[in-house]
């Protein structure tokens, strides 16, 4: 047990928990009992809040722990997180403002809400909602792995601390909704920026400079028999690197929790400005990634076979105790923000697209918010049970699958923002084909290092499709291509058969409405989503 570290960790954790409860009174609404308030924080967040909220939402504790672990284990391949988070912002800048506008006009809360209005198909909306919930659940569970890695390093054992941490999180999310993570994100991100800036100056100085850090890493990879590692890419994993970065970027803003963060912002300018401000987090992530090499150079070993512990282990070895405590708190609190937003996003999907669509068509906004609040609790209990009851590796596999399946909503949610050309039948067929292809590809990826015969990673060897090559590609990317091809063919078939298409509830000008547009308010009060 490391007393100093534990005391500092606990104090900061309690401070943040207090903030979570107080958040209910922050920017206090007249009535918190509707999804616009509880689930989207009043839809009025400005530039700074959105920056902290979305940054804290996308760059999760798991990322901060897993990316250095990946670099530690495989080298250059793990750095894909940097191009991934560079290309995503210019790519989605124009797409997200359209989503914001149409959601603002039609009072939409979830990506499935949009699909419902755009394609007039409750079935397609249900598929998008279920995909979102299934992809988000393991992601929430993974946040616990971040906390667990820190607790392990501090010598805290047993399940109780983890359960208490999540119980507190569940309680203040229930009470304050999206305002809680928004307020906590300020503390979380300030701590993370502080820790990393100190780390990248202090640690290389202690280890003899950057050159010796990279030399140590190179020596380690040269010594291993694995062909895929090294401090640069090789001929066989470049395509994987690029498709994984691109595929992950395409998937990022399809995740319901990213959409929640975006829809909570005040106007289009806030979103656009944030697309150029959020890369500050990418720089942070790139520097954090290099902690993996610092761990190699410092001779840090993971606890057991859990590579996720190398970042906390590195801090523990090189920082003075009190600052290691601050660093651990940053990671631990870092898990709370995304976990809260993700559970809210999943809960909103349930309340909007399952409860209201199928169980209680006449639900009042208050009922909707109540169902969502309860669903957010259920989601968190599920995440804790998954982590405690099943091998954590299982959540990692599930999250890998999650990335592949959320990508299958791209044609209806992403492309749907630009075109109504697709037939709802084609989109449903494409979704089904993409899901099946994704599962099949992932099932056939083995990982000798972890002794997995199936679901061993996301790098699919093209060799298995009959090509004479060792080149690998991101499985989600191939699945998306299958999805798109089937969606296009399916649309042609549906048109040829004169199959009925759903009505489009949106108009072209809805996609660039902004706050202050008089028509928006008029519509907001008269036309709820349906």
């Amino acid at each position: 047990m490391k007393t100093t570290e534990i005391v500092i960790f606990t104090l900061l954790f309690l401070l943040v928990s207090g903030l979570g409860f107080v958040a209910a009174r922050w920017r206090r609404p007249d009535d918190l009992a509707n999804l616009n308030e509880w689930g989207l924080g009043g839809r009025g967040f400005g530039g700074w809040i959105t920056w902290f909220l979305v940054g804290g939402d996308l760059y999760t504790a798991y990322t901060f722990v897993a990316v250095p672990a990946l670099i530690f284990g495989a080298g250059a391949m793990g750095f894909y997180a940097v191009p991934y988070t560079v290309v995503v912002y210019p790519m989605v800048m124009l797409v997200l403002v359209r989503l914001w506008s149409v959601s603002h006009v039609h009072n939409l809360v979830t990506p499935a809400d949009f699909v419902r209005v755009r394609f007039g198909s409750p079935t397609l909306a249900l598929l998008v909602a279920i995909t979102g919930i299934v992809a988000t659940m393991p992601y929430i569970a993974l946040q616990l792995i971040g906390i667990e890695a820190v607790l392990k390093t501090m010598g805290v054992t047993g399940d109780l601390p983890l359960i208490i941490a999540f119980a507190i999180l569940a309680a203040y999310t229930y009470q304050s909704g999206l305002r809680a993570p928004a307020l906590i994100a300020f503390v979380k991100d300030s701590l993370i920026y502080l820790v990393i800036l100190v780390a990248i100056v202090y640690i290389p100085a202690k280890l003899g400079g950057w050159a010796s850090i990279f030399d140590a890493a190179k020596a380690k990879f040269d010594a291993t028999p694995a062909p895929g590692d090294g401090i640069t890419l090789n001929a066989n994993n470049q395509l994987q690197y690029v498709t994984l970065a691109l595929g992950s970027a395409l998937a990022l803003f399809l995740y319901p929790h990213s959409v929640t963060g975006i829809l909570a912002s005040r106007d289009r300018n806030v979103i656009k400005r944030n697309m150029s401000a959020l890369p500050a987090y990418s720089l942070l992530l790139g520097l954090i990634a290099l902690l993996g090499y610092m761990a190699i150079a410092a001779g840090v070993a993971p606890i057991g076979k859990d590579n996720n512990t190398i970042t906390p282990q590195l801090f523990d070895k090189l920082f003075p105790d009190w600052f290691a405590g601050v660093a651990f708190a940053a990671i631990g609190i870092g898990a709370l923000v995304p976990a809260a937003i993700m559970s809210i996003a999943a809960a909103n999907l349930f309340a909007r697209n399952i409860y209201r669509e199928y169980l209680n068509r006449d639900a009042t906004p208050a009922q909707e918010a109540r169902v969502s609040k309860i669903a957010s609790l259920v989601v968190k209990v599920g995440a804790v049970l998954v982590i405690l009851g099943i091998d954590p590796q299982f959540s990692i596999d599930l999250q890998l699958i999650g990335g592949v399946i959320i990508l299958q909503t791209l044609p209806s949610v992403g492309l749907g923002l630009y075109t109504r050309w697709f037939h709802r039948g084609g989109l449903i067929a494409g979704w089904a084909a993409g899901m099946a292809a994704g599962m099949l590809l992932l099932y056939n990826i083995a990982n000798p290092a972890t002794k997995h015969e199936h679901f061993g990673g996301s790098a699919f060897p093209l060799e298995k499709l009959g090509f004479d090559t060792k080149i690998t590609i991101y499985a989600g990317f191939l699945a998306l291509i299958v999805n798109l091809v089937v969606a296009v063919l399916g649309t042609f078939v549906a048109r040829a058969l004169r199959s009925a298409d759903g009505p489009d509830g949106t108009r072209p000008e809805d996609y660039f409405a902004d706050k202050g547009d008089p028509r928006v308010h008029e519509l907001e009060t008269t036309a709820p989503a349906s």
Partner: protein
Amino acid sequence: MATPDRRDGRSGAPTGDRSPLNWLLLLPIAIPLLPPLFNAVEPRLFGIPLFYWLQLAFIVLGVTTTTLVYRATRRNR
């Protein structure tokens, strides 16, 4: 991206999403996805191999382009 601008001429109405400057956004999307540009150790910068420092530098490229496009297409209210 074939969305027509609003032509109803109402005052204060949004003017659409179209701007030729939007094409600039393709640069920070394409360049970071070309490994031949950065997949090498030399030249190093402060001892950091090209692979790492150049990809971190692409963040600056991304920020510059998105900022430029944001400023050019910002709506004044």
